[in-house]
Symmetry: C2
Subunit: 351 residues, 2 copies
């Protein structure tokens, strides 16, 4: 993370007057105006007119664009390695990257609970602003609502994003082919364990941080190298297992992975053993899988490993010829077990 | 509203098993998959792959596009003349129309409270689907989160939208010119009074319905007629007063309106008098103001009045030459009062 310096000014909305969010901050009147002009605009150091108007006007693109949205309800709002603001920017930017797009424009819609400390809101807004700069996107339009005390949970954030496809590939499960290599960009489960430890006060003696990170650089590098990417998917709720099950099910093909090849840090492994959780199902916020022809796997790994976020990238599996739509985990001793979707997340509200 | 017939099938998610939303419905696992495939996809009668994937790919446009977002937290969820689902589609579509865009693509992100009745969710999803068809947009990507009981309020909905500008006008407060006519598309305050009456159980003897409606047809008709639209603004939170104050403030020009020209139904007027509220500040969800050269006002009114939603359109005011950024209401007797933004909405959670 970059320094917070440019944002180290005191929160410009007079905290003495409003230390906490009140319903009128979402009412469309003077207080909402004050929040937008006094906090959001300085934080994003932007003159975007759409922060106050009905929408943003984007320049013509002339190429395909990707469009995505996610709402973020993570608890706690601040966790080791990130916070809900940074997550709300990176989560949506990462979804655009998974479409093979260069993220360009974001919207941000806040649902604040009456009574939420204004200082915490300021910290979150600063974090969003910092992250928006870091990943080089523009936050162009937004919305703020306030709900009554006890009808929300501090803050929920929705971001939607628009990005540009600068290539002609069709990236998605429909492009998976038998024989495709499956690359995994790094170790699993740190986001899930870090959030769980922070929320449940498990007292795990660990300084484990969430893996929360932008996946834009590695994806753009892969595309710029002209590699024939067939499919990309980030590993969020439900972890690697859920991502692969969805892809196998959508494509109708079998995907197999080598259990021994999956990188899991010792701290994550012990925490999972202690709590009866499966690292394959643990949430991540800075990990993805990439599928491409096996002949290009070595070059792709090289590119991924040159990026900080892909340092531990590995070849983890492949797409099989069988049309059974299942995911198979192969153990070092040659055992094969079929992975099914869990009913829910092992841990709710991880993102 | 159109008939509900095409959606009159029973909710396809087995209600016997899950009569209420559980946390796992937002967990990224089997239950979330069941909700998407069993409820959302049939309701929207769509094969959009992005309902399950990371984002939607939109075809190249080659023109400017508008991008907007809003979260909807209205209470009650069902009110005379609409519900949160219909509001979430029309509110965002209307914001695109105010940018002068033809709405094309929507995202939808749900934040559900654990324990929310599945049957109510189904009703809301049906209403969204029906409205999406009615206004001819595509819901292309979405997200579902579930928060713990007591940490939400039934359902919050975020929609973001992308629309296409099929003209070269610059529509916004920066295009306002002294002398511009200000047209108002219809009577004020029905949404606010209808929601208030439903929520607070005021027992007003009225069958007053929200004015909730699509503003797309009248806006497209104005544009297709080649009129030189300078600015459009829908009147939501804060009503006509807040909209005009924002425009006057952004443009630095004075906007004056004739109080006697503002259409307010008798039922709304009495309710406001009874409750000490001001119709100029009441929320609307199917009303807008349009600014254009005075020579084109008569033709624009003719076009607006040909549409059901613009039947009661009137010339309500004008942009003055004074550079004071204020809004002035002129009474029939010649009095002039300056309108300021209220601190908040008279009524919270109106949208």
């Amino acid at each position: 993370m970059k320094s917070r310096e440019p944002f180290a000014l005191a929160c410009p909305v007079p905290l003495s007057q409003y230390e906490r969010v009140v319903l009128a901050h979402g009412g469309g009147g003077r207080l909402m105006h004050q929040l937008i002009e006094g906090m959001f605009r300085p934080a994003f150091a932007t003159a975007e007119p759409a922060l106050q108007h009905d929408g943003a006007i984007l320049d013509p693109v002339g190429r395909r664009v990707a469009f995505t949205t996610d709402s973020y309800v993570v608890q706690p709002l601040f966790f080791p390695g990130g916070d809900i603001g940074r997550l709300a920017v990176l989560g949506t930017v990462n979804d655009l990257a998974m479409c093979g797009a260069r993220p360009r424009w974001l919207s941000c819609s806040l649902i604040l609970e009456e009574g939420f400390p204004m200082a915490d809101l300021w910290t979150i807004v600063q974090s969003m602003a910092e992250t928006v700069r870091e990943v080089d996107v523009r936050l162009v339009t937004g919305d703020t609502k306030v709900v009554n005390r006890g009808k929300g949970d501090g803050v929920f954030i929705n971001t939607a994003g628009v990005g540009i496809l600068e290539h002609d590939l069709v990236i998605g499960p429909q492009s998976l082919r038998p024989g495709d290599a499956c690359l995994l960009s790094g170790d699993l489960g740190r986001h899930g364990v870090a959030v769980l430890n922070a929320r449940e006060d498990l007292g795990l003696q660990t300084d484990l941080q969430s893996d929360l990170a932008s996946l834009v650089p590695p994806v753009l590098r892969l595309l710029e190298a002209g590699l024939e990417i067939h499919c990309l998917r980030d590993l969020t709720r439900g972890g690697l297992a859920a991502a692969l099950v969805e892809l196998a099910s959508s494509s109708g093909l079998e995907i197999s992975i080598q259990e021994a090849a999956v990188p899991v840090r010792e701290e994550v492994r012990s925490a999972c053993e202690l709590l009866g959780l499966d690292p394959l199902l643990m949430a991540n916020e800075g990990r993805f899988v990439a599928f491409l022809p096996p002949s290009q796997a070595a070059r792709a790994l090289e590119i991924l490993r040159a990026e900080e976020v892909g340092r531990d990238a590995v070849l983890v599996g492949k797409v099989g010829a069988e049309k059974n739509g299942t995911v198979v985990v192969e153990s070092p001793l040659g055992g094969r077990r079929i992975v099914d979707l869990p009913a829910g997340e092992q841990l709710p509200r991880i993102c």
